[in-house]
Amino acid sequence: MWGSPPGCEAQRLPPTPSSAFRSRGLLDQGVQRGRWRPAHFEFFAAVFLIAGAGVSFAQPPQTNPDSVQLTMAPVQGNVYVLMGDGGNITVQVGKDGVMLVDTGFAPLAPKAMAEIRKLSGGPIRWIVNTHVHADHTGGNAEMAKLGMTSESIGPPRIVAQSNVLNRMTAPPTGNQPKIPEAEWPNDEYFLPTKDFFFNGEAVVVYHVPAAHTDGDSLVFFRRSDVLSTGDVFTPGSYPILDLARGGSVEGEIKALNQIIDITVPAKYQEGGTLVIPGHGRLCDEADVVEYRNMLTVIRDRFRDMIHKGMTLEQVKAAKPTLDYDTQYGSATGFWTTDMFVEAVYKSLSGKPVSESK
């Protein structure tokens, strides 16, 4: 059996009125019971280290896990989200046990598991990795171990698109450490979708090629009506295009359009299917539409400038992202506006950035 933690029940969503945003209940109740705590986005800065011309996504935060605050928030149906340092962890619970989408950083796994245990004492049976980066896969081994109970019939299946496994098992380059075998996915897929039934609902995993990376998955909880997107959708920043791991602008736009295809708003573009991004707040289709619009408009501008033969420096001087920089950009940190502009240019022109100089 499982149950909600004290106080968490109070945040659960009320019965859905036909015209209401289903999360309105969550909003209406605000922090009345003091359950909400500040979000921690500084994880980004610790996660991503600049390595030459590329970006390294493999390092855990140098934060003391004891000082990290994790917050479990109900989403809807069987689905919750654990927010804190590292990527969002989607948690689905029910009579069959526990399913996770992503596992955060390894050092945070015990703390994350303690939060999950407030929802369910059942075994973790499924883990889906949305992509290869360590802030989403680093806790695989530890969570699999901690998630074992007397009801377990073996370690959880760790599902990921096959490119995730390929990259995790590849010989390390530079100073990157070898990724332990226990962290590897053990149930990879290579077709466009994979589905299974767990806790009374269908779970559909969609591969979206060449978006944030080449191994991105969207995870749709069909009965709960919740979509977990991984880092294909990060509403607090420009999309992180990891070109070195097969990401691209066009693939990212296609992936965002696929999210919009899957999601259905309840009324007047609000509520309905809820979207858990890789990082950041809970969203719905309308939030993804704004994000898709942003990237599409930027893509159109870059295409035009590249078609005119402009160099990267000329493109930068033209400030083609000016209208979005105050919303999504950053002058400092692991993923700056400059880096985004360079990635978009490189992705669309097919030229290494250095060749454009």
């Binding site: 209406d28 719905d284 704004e290």
Partner: protein, 307 residues
Amino acid sequence: MMDHPPRGRIAYGFLLASLVSLPALAQVDFTGEWAPLYHEDGPERLPGPELGDYTELPINAAARLAGDTYDADRISVVPEYQCRPHGGDYSMRGLGNLRIWREIDQTSEKLVAFHTHMLAWDSERTVWMDGRPHPPDYAPHTWQGFSTGVWDGNMLTITTTHLKTNYMRRNGIPRSDKAVFTEHWTRHGDYLTVVTVIEDPVYLTEPLVRSDNWYVDPGQNIGIFGCEYAPEVPRPEGTVPNHLPGQNPFLHEFANWYGLPYEATRGGAETLYPEYQKKIANEYHPPAHCERYCRCTSLFDCNVTSK
């Protein structure tokens, strides 16, 4: 047979009841049906703003570029925009009739919330009056946002956060989801005056302050809005109409129609203040004939070619 209480006890009861209810009586009740008045900023609100008209908006360069590259086709071509409601802030510009009602806790008789319903997109909003805090940053955002109210004498001050990204003006000037929207509601008999303040760190360099008025209209029937999206023109999936920077052919129309210097139409904090009138005095040449929205007092008498 029931005994009648002594008259003195009844009087005492009334007195006690009136004392207990004094705090509520000292506050204003906005309950009722309200019709918008359009004597302020008429053409902008109805029939709607001109493309390239950024006057009276303390916008930054980001908002200006967003407006310059906006293509109004987006409203019809992007299916998800066809039924996209106004934000809670834009609704208060009075684009439709308004109903306000109170939610009273029956045990304590305390005011829990005001609720509003507006014609446009059947938008409903709750203004919590019970002192609850706003949700954290990562809670979902909605079109109407999360609103709380406090009394300042007879004035109700409402603070709204958690708005979804929307427009600040319906010609492509955006308002971000980081904006905080403050309203000051004051009732003068049959009139409701709402002074609004938008603070948006993403698109504004200083707060945008405006006012709107409503008139009590107890006989109004707001009606049903209803909207279902329907693709009207086959387009490739994911098409988002936009003008490339510097290639929007419509940006000078507004300045030309009204004889304004182009720079004055570009918005920005400087253009809000009276001193700016002096600065452009020599460049303002009113047209000999009004060509556009000359005598608008409502949506229905705004003939484009009225002279």
